[in-house]
């Protein structure tokens, strides 16, 4: 593995990782996990992949909990690992949130927090402490022991504890995986606030498209221990024919701003670089940056603008690509929508009927839009 120390070492804003890791006694020269990545030093970067893809191992290698046989890790200009040095876990300025509740069972929630405060990288000010407590809304459960708390409460304490160490990088390993669906929805809003509120870069390991599309800015896609794709959440998950999401969930993510409110019909107008759409009002303030998801199966095509249709969002688009699997009844059409793209799933019969070819102009009718965040 080539290690380019010099260029990366001088970079004081980003995280540079080159790691080759195999379990003890691994028979092959080919490392089980072999990753090279430059990760942004701000915002949330998701490490996305199925179970067994190596995403947790990658996070553990960055934390120093696992020792990559060959590795180079440099975070904001500080060298954590190379061929000559390996900084032990307790000397890395990280916060780590484990998958399952990992509170010390012999300490109350408050004592768990104090454990971090006493060892924090810099003194914890009262102001910072109160901000952590109020962000995660844990004041009332501080006197309890971990076994008296629900899974969601335990995980909120664990997140608060990781924040109170005042890390320069927060590592989260599927922090919601051990919770049931409704609990996940309880905690997601807290996670959403973290990176911005605490000006903290976060590495977030997850196999959930829902969590990643809601929380992350940038995503590394891992499969079989290799990075197979990376980019903004919008780009990675909007690709035509991506294997990252099931066939029925194919679609695009668009980012934009809410610019107008229609009080009468409870609608807001979403404006992206591609154009604008009316979506159901979910109480976001005007000017809010939102991310929406449009599934390919919710987009139908028409050669003319059906003004008499019940479909509210009809957009002028041009065909930019057609994916036609062999012997399939469904084709996926990629449509250029201003600067953005949409995907539409139509039958092959309609494809022939509409005589679709690239750059043909037509109307996309969008039946449903989900606000991701």
């Amino acid at each position: 593995m080539a290690v380019e120390n010099d260029s990366a070492n001088n970079d004081t804003t980003s995280i540079s990782v080159q790691l080759a890791w195999s379990p003890k006694g691994w028979p092959s020269n080919d490392a089980l996990l072999d990753v090279s990545a430059a990760i942004s030093g701000r915002g949330v970067t998701a490490i996305y992949g199925s179970s067994g893809s190596g995403k947790t191992t990658l996070l553990r290698c960055i934390a120093g909990l696992e020792r990559a046989q060959e590795g180079y890790v440099s975070v904001k200009g500080e060298l954590w690992q190379d061929s000559n040095c390996f900084r032990p876990v307790h000397k890395r300025p990280i916060g780590y949130v484990f998958q399952e509740a990992s509170l010390f069972s012999h300490l109350t929630a408050e004592q768990n927090l104090n454990y971090a405060i006493r060892r924090s990288d810099k003194p914890v000010s009262d102001d910072y402490f109160l901000r952590v407590i109020s962000t995660l809304e844990i004041e009332s459960i501080l006197p309890q022991y971990p076994h008296q708390l629900s899974g969601g409460e335990r995980q909120r304490i664990a997140i608060a504890r990781a924040l109170l160490i005042q890390p320069s990088l927060l590592l989260m390993d599927e922090p919601l995986a051990s919770l049931d669906e409704s609990r996940k929805d309880d905690i997601l809003p807290y996670l959403e606030k973290l990176s911005a509120d605490f000006e903290l870069p976060i590495l977030y390991v997850s196999h959930s498209l829902k969590e990643v599309s809601r929380l992350a800015d940038y995503v590394l896609v891992l499969e079989g221990g290799r990075i197979i794709d990376e980019g903004t959440v919008k780009d990675v998950f909007s690709k035509m024919g991506t294997a990252l999401v099931p066939e029925s969930e194919q679609g695009v993510i668009l980012e934009g701003e809410l610019v107008e409110r229609d009080e009468k019909w409870n609608l807001v107008r979403f404006q992206s670089s591609g154009g604008s759409l009316w979506i159901g009002d979910q109480g976001h303030r005007l000017g809010a940056q939102v991310r929406i998801r449009i599934l390919a199966r919710d987009v139908s095509l028409s050669l003319v603008d059906n003004v008499d249709s019940s479909i509210l969002n009809r957009l002028p688009v041009t065909v930019s690509a057609i994916s036609l699997p062999d012997n399939a009844s469904q084709a996926t059409i990629q449509l250029k929508f201003g600067e953005d793209h949409l995907l539409a799933q139509i039958t092959t019969r309609s494809l022939e009927h509409l005589a679709l070819i690239p750059v043909k102009a037509l109307w996309a009718q969008i039946k449903s839009v989900a606000v991701v965040r």
């Binding site: 307790h90 916060g95 780590y96 484990f98 010390f104 060892r119 924090s120």
Partner: protein, 230 residues
């Protein structure tokens, strides 16, 4: 009910058991921690050595200790050259013998409790800036507390109950090495069955109360690594 000599034997027994338990807790903690964490090839041999007193007749253990601590033995030469004198037939000789004898009863519960902690709490502590020593004192020791309680109770009770080893290296010196079990043997030898009954009843009662307390404690904690002796 008891005469002065018998009280002396009871007091000596308690003093011996307390001393042995205290010293054993200190020595066993690092041994148990090493056994709980190591992948070394020496783990199995060391574990077997620690467990040896469980299966050996106390007389065998006592015999070798007697040789080692005697005037011709290596330990005996050392203690004499240090001006301590010879250890057999003295209180401290008994303490050392009893420490060997009760070692597995103290090491194993602590080791079980430490193994039950697993890696995770230590990893968590490391990500919270705790060094190896810090982790040991703030995470390992508190989380293995139930193991220490079990170890202390078993170590104490087992030392109170020893006989063969005391006879081999302690003999029968009033106030120095004549513990309760030896005193009972003396009474029986002298056909003083009433006195033997008295001391024996105290031993039965003591042992029962100690074990009862231990099992009630274990039941209330109901955590892993504590079911020693069941």
């Amino acid at each position: 009910m008891f005469n002065a000599l018998e009280f002396e034997a009871i007091w000596l027994t308690l003093r011996l058991a307390a001393t042995v338990t205290l010293l054993l807790l200190l020595i066993s903690t690092p041994i148990a921690w090493w056994l709980a964490r190591t992948n070394s090839v020496f783990k199995a041999p060391v574990a077997a050595l620690v467990a040896l007193p469980l299966v050996l007749p106390p007389t065998v253990l006592g015999f070798y200790l007697l040789l080692a601590m005697g005037p011709e033995g290596p330990v005996g030469r050392l203690t004499e050259s240090l001006g301590i004198g010879l250890l057999p037939f003295s209180f401290w000789g008994l303490v050392i013998g009893s420490m060997f004898y009760s070692l597995p009863f103290v090491v194993q519960p602590i080791q079980n409790a430490m193994e039950a902690i697993g890696d995770r709490p230590l990893e968590v502590a490391a990500t919270l800036r705790a060094s190896a020593w810090d982790r040991f004192f703030t995470v390992v020791l508190p989380l293995s507390k139930p193991g220490f309680v079990t170890a202390a109770v078993l170590g104490f009770a087992h030392t109170v109950g020893e006989f063969g080893l005391v006879l081999m290296i302690g003999g029968n010196i009033a106030g120095e090495t004549r513990v309760v079990s030896v005193a009972i043997y003396d009474h029986v030898e002298a056909m003083e069955y009433a006195q033997a009954h008295g001391l024996s009843a105290v031993m039965v009662l003591f042992s029962f109360v100690v074990l009862l307390a231990l099992y009630v404690f274990q039941r209330n904690r109901n955590s892993a690594g504590l079911t020693y002796g069941r």
